[in-house]
């Protein structure tokens, strides 16, 4: 079973087309294994980006160095998954 320990989901808001283009370029870097839960569409609309733990620093540095604003939507994906599984098991019992 694939685990997502330490993975975060960042809510990123690009302010113009240039920043959207930067986000798309970021998403194409396959070595980062990023997953856009919501794709960057247009300025002002949030994009949600799941970032594996080992790449968090690099991605956050990229965003900050390009003045792209973001917040952490999910601190630790695995924590939510563990909670979800616990709730399912409880319901089944």
């Amino acid at each position: 079973e694939k685990l997502f320990v330490g993975d975060q989901v960042l809510r990123v808001t690009a302010r113009d087309e240039e920043q959207i283009a930067l986000l798309r370029v970021l998403g194409e870097r396959t070595e980062l294994q990023l997953d856009f839960w919501r794709h960057p569409a247009r300025p002002g609309l949030p994009a949600d980006l799941q970032v594996p733990f080992p790449c968090l620093q690099e991605v956050k540095t990229f965003l900050e160095s390009n003045n792209i604003s973001y917040s952490v939507m999910i601190e630790d994906v695995q924590e939510l998954l563990d909670e979800e599984k616990k709730t399912m098991n409880k319901s089944r019992r």
């Binding site: 856009f36 799941q50 939510l80």
Partner: protein
């Protein structure tokens, strides 16, 4: 195993087997209203089931509902189960549901992508695509909502099998998609398609693969406006609405565009809750509120279809 519609926990997420068992229970409990059709099989040879809600008649016009085309969007399959149960509960009680089913049939595919759904339970909770093997690539799966023959291969879809929006080698390459296409084309009188996704609180209509307004843009917009207003009246959840291309982004190969291009005028796609906290990991405590608020919006669309035959 859940053995009764009255003891089934609608407020919990369930595995594929549990949901498939529940389909049988629903049919057994309401044999004069619900039947289960087997419309094909998935890539990994799981059955593709559609619930048929019908009060009889022949060659009736129909409404198609589906949930779970993207397997990780668990709130949608859960909403599908709740909604299917709601339909049988309300028939004979609610005048709108009764009127709809007295003259039309409803088809409901709750698990469009069973391979992906099973995979989200066993191996990778965040799996979105089908599980078909891509020749020459180590990456598995096709995005079944980029695989339809409507602007196939256009913007917003990828030719890279490792992408989450990989469109597949050709339109309808995925048996999960082809089975629906064959069923709807074979039926010949489907008047509405409502495809349910999560999560960005939107109600969308064609087109996604081009920016020009659909010929019925104004009517679809009016229907969507009323639907989101009635949805918001339940818990205040705010939805946006509009064409896919205008509201989010260009997306080629989607199911609602295929439906619209093939004569299904009332083609809509929902993006259910979340407000930016949980994404695909919406807690199960929100299943019933989500399904409850979605219901009046679904009903608005279905009533409009009933009252505007074509």
């Amino acid at each position: 195993t859940e053995r009764s519609t009255s003891t089934f926990d609608f407020a919990s997420y369930h595995t594929l087997d549990e949901i498939y068992d529940w389909l049988n229970t629903l049919v057994a409990d309401h044999p004069n209203l619900v039947s289960k059709l087997h419309i094909g099989q998935s890539y990994e040879k799981r059955p593709l089931y559609v619930l048929k809600f019908s009060t009889g008649g022949s060659n009736r016009s129909a409404i198609w509902l589906d949930t779970g085309i993207h397997s990780r969007e668990w709130i949608t399959q859960a909403t599908g189960v709740w909604t299917a149960n709601k339909i049988v509960e309300e028939y004979g009680q609610d005048p709108s549901v009764t009127a709809i089913l007295d003259s039309m049939d409803i088809f409901f595919e709750i698990i469009v992508n069973p391979d992906g759904f099973a995979f989200t339970h066993s191996s990778n909770r965040l799996w979105r695509k089908t599980r078909s093997i891509n020749a020459g690539s180590p990456c598995v799966g096709v995005d079944p909502n980029r695989n339809w023959d409507a602007g196939f291969g256009g913007a917003g879809s990828s030719s890279n099998p490792c992408s989450e929006t990989y469109r597949g080698p050709y339109a309808h390459s995925e048996s999960e998609v082809k089975s629906i296409v064959d069923f709807i084309c074979g039926h010949g009188s489907v008047k509405s398609i409502i495809s349910i996704h999560s999560y960005s609180q939107m109600l969308l209509y064609p087109y996604g693969y081009k920016t020009v307004p659909a010929p019925n843009h104004q009517e679809l917009n009016e229907v969507a406006k009323k639907a989101v207003s009635d949805l918001a009246a339940v818990y205040g959840t705010k939805y946006t609405y509009g064409s896919i291309a205008d509201t989010i982004y260009m997306a080629g190969g989607t199911s609602v565009d295929w439906a619209y291009d093939n004569g299904v005028k009332y083609s809509f796609t929902f993006e259910l809750r979340d407000t930016g906290r949980y994404g695909f990991l919406l807690p199960s405590s929100q299943i019933i509120p989500t399904a409850t608020e979605t219901w009046p919006a679904l009903l608005d669309i279905m009533v409009h279809v009933l009252e505007h035959p074509y």
